[in-house]
């Protein structure tokens, strides 16, 4: 299975990249996606996650072809 992972704002700077492509064999949760992509990095508190542009919980399962995004609390308006 293959997914894309996007990072935004301060999290993009923290990771040092705006996106990763990740290949995996068995289903992963969102938490496991972070760990696979950024094993050496501490996950900042309050980080939010989305799958295919919808907010999800950290135990949500990721499927083949999904787009996962990690980002800090939003500050628009």
């Amino acid at each position: 299975m293959s997914i894309k992972v996007y990072y935004f704002a301060s999290l993009k700077e923290h990771v040092g990249s705006s996106e990763h492509e990740l290949d995996f064999i068995q289903s992963l949760t969102v938490t496991e996606v972070w760990l696979q992509a950024n094993a050496e990095l501490v996950l900042p508190r309050n980080t939010l996650a989305a799958i295919n542009m919808e907010y999800v919980e950290w135990d949500s399962l990721v499927s083949d072809g999904d787009v996962v995004a990690f980002f800090p609390p939003v500050t628009g308006g």
């Binding site: 996007y6 542009m53 919808e54 995004a69 980002f71 800090p72 609390p73 939003v74 628009g76 308006g77």
Partner: protein, 148 residues
Amino acid sequence: MAIKIIDQPFDPYQELQLYQNSTLAHQGSIGATSIFVGTMRDFNQGSQVTGMSIEHYPGMTEKQLALCVEKAQGLWSILDSLIIHRVGIITPNEVIVLIAVWSSHRGDAFDATRYIMEALKSTVPFWKKECLETEAERWVMSNTSGYQ
């Protein structure tokens, strides 16, 4: 209903006029128009701010804004709405956001406008990075609730 994300300065009153004259739905039924305009300040958290960049997540931004409007439509009787939000480089006094809601009665228009704005502030993926007078930059870490 219209949602626009734009990377250039805009005049909210011109945009409203244009929308009202061209695409506004249910014109004969409208009894109330409520507008919120958010503008960039030149100060924040004790610092002078000379500029700001606004980043967003294209696609999710529009999706979440549509969800804000959809939820408001479930709570109040809304005839039409217009949301415009800036992204990119912005300077003090420029407009960041316009929210307009049209309804038959003022209560629905007032309440829905407020609701959409608060929902935008807490759920729509925009992020602000401020440029300070000292030339340092800092991310805005969180939004406060407008109901506090």
